[in-house]
């Protein structure tokens, strides 16, 4: 129970995937203009990352480890993730229309999200079992969703502020992210 709590809290808040590990920055900077799209992206990442961590840890445990092929994990994981995202997209389109309408457009963007591959490799390196890997994946993605929604909220506000022209666009977003990272530093005493 204690391990579970440490893994979930650590993944979601203390070692926030965007603000302290720098994974998944592209969508964090690119799709955080509006709270609605940011929340959609967050939801899609939670969905894909949970599935991807589960599938990758199963493959790692039952195929790569017994065959002593751990060194192939980068190649195998990236292909599995790419295939999985395609498959999920097709499955949702055919069977779960409402979920597809909500998440569909974000799914192709997630294949290039380095956080998904990063977490799969991290799970394999840390040696988490299947349950812990899946939990780690889910709560890392929850941390991503928290960060991107807060960022979108900040950006909706600063849009109307008067700041130097040089800081328009990415620069102001990065400074705001830096301040958020300082705030998240406060959580580091939690575990």
């Amino acid at each position: 129970m204690k391990t579970v709590l440490v893994v979930t809290l650590g993944a979601a808040i203390v070692n926030n995937v965007v603000l302290s590990q720098f994974l998944g920055l592209c969508p964090f900077l690119g799709v955080s203009k509006r709270i609605k799209t940011a929340a959609g992206m967050g939801g899609a990442v939670i969905f894909v990352m949970t599935l991807a961590s589960l599938v990758c840890s199963i493959i790692d445990k039952f195929i790569l480890k017994p065959a002593n092929l751990e060194y192939l994990n980068t190649i195998v994981f990236i292909l599995v993730i790419a295939a999985l995202v395609q498959f999920v997209e097709m499955f949702l389109k055919k069977n779960v229309k409402s979920l597809y309408n909500a998440l569909g457009v974000y799914l192709p963007l997630i294949t290039t999200n380095c956080a998904v591959l990063g977490i799969a490799i991290k799970n394999a390196q840390t040696g988490y079992n299947i349950l812990l890997s899946t939990l780690n994946g889910t709560f890392t993605a929850v941390g991503f969703a928290i960060a991107i929604v807060i960022m979108a909220g900040i950006r909706e506000k600063i849009e109307f502020n008067d700041y130097p022209e040089s800081f328009k666009g990415q620069a102001s977003v990065l400074i705001a992210a830096g301040l958020m990272a300082i705030a998240f530093f406060g959580f580091s005493g939690l575990i």
């Binding site: 799709v31 990236i78 963007l109 591959l117 830096g178």
Partner: protein, 248 residues
């Protein structure tokens, strides 16, 4: 200027992946805690970029259009695995400092972006030099960022003490390192300020009527555009908003 030289110039100055195209932001922020880490990451990426560009360019007539992205990923991932083992064997210090960001070179958008937009359409030799140029451009920029962060954050560059550091125990006066700059928030601040400086230069150039390289690069559609994820003008987000409207 002949072709290979022109590609090198293009990668290092004209289309510098970090400062001009703004690609590959994750490693740029994550590993630039010191100049030496920046060089390590930059050179590893350069090797992968050059070799994968070369191989993809050789195979460009064999790989059909429909399976190109998975094939590119396999090529890149194989080279990344090789580089990972080489680093682990010969420079274990760099290997452990870069950690998880070495396997993540696979998803670095610079590499797939170059494969897609250059190597898959051009002959091997220019592609090789395009990879080397882009890689060296990336190396230079992240080494500069690393050096700046290391200098402000711990008062050293490449581990050399350039300015005297204040030491209370020894009673010496000097510079007090701002350690937040080498921590996570500092990465965002330093890059944010660098971007603002670049914007400033660009705005000046526009005012003076000079030609400015268009970072958005929106010539055709956003499909397959390496910038689509980070493009602030239109692309991904507007597409999402539009398709949301269509769904409603």
């Amino acid at each position: 200027m002949n072709k290979p030289l022109e590609r090198l110039y293009n990668g290092i100055i004209k289309e510098n992946p970090t400062f001009v195209l703004m690609l590959g932001m994750c490693p740029t922020l994550a590993v630039t805690t010191s100049a030496i880490n920046g060089i390590g990451m930059g050179l590893s990426t350069t090797v992968v970029l050059a070799l994968s560009n070369l191989l993809i360019s050789i195979l460009r007539k064999v790989i059909t259009d429909r399976i190109r992205v998975p094939s590119f990923i396999v090529v890149v991932a194989s080279f990344v695995t090789m580089v990972q083992f080489l680093l682990q064997a010969y420079v274990p210090a760099i290997y452990s400092a870069l950690g998880i960001y070495i396997p993540l070179i696979v998803v670095n958008c610079i590499i797939l972006g170059r494969a897609e937009s250059y190597a898959s359409k051009n002959p091997p030799i220019p592609s090789l030099f395009d990879g080397i140029g882009m890689g060296l451009g990336f190396t230079c920029s992240i080494t500069i960022i690393g050096a700046v962060r290391e200098l402000i954050g711990s008062g050293t560059v490449f581990g050399l003490h350039l300015i005297p550091i204040k030491d209370v125990a020894a009673g010496t006066h000097g510079y007090i390192p701002v350690s937040i700059v080498v921590l996570a928030p500092g990465a965002f601040f330093v890059l944010g300020i660098i971007m603002a400086i670049i914007n400033r230069v660009k705005l000046n150039n526009i005012k003076k009527g000079r030609k400015v390289y268009d970072t958005s690069g929106c010539k055709e559609s956003c499909f397959g555009c390496p910038h689509s994820m980070i493009c602030l003008n239109s692309s991904s987000e507007n597409k999402i908003i539009n398709s949301n409207k269509a769904n409603e």
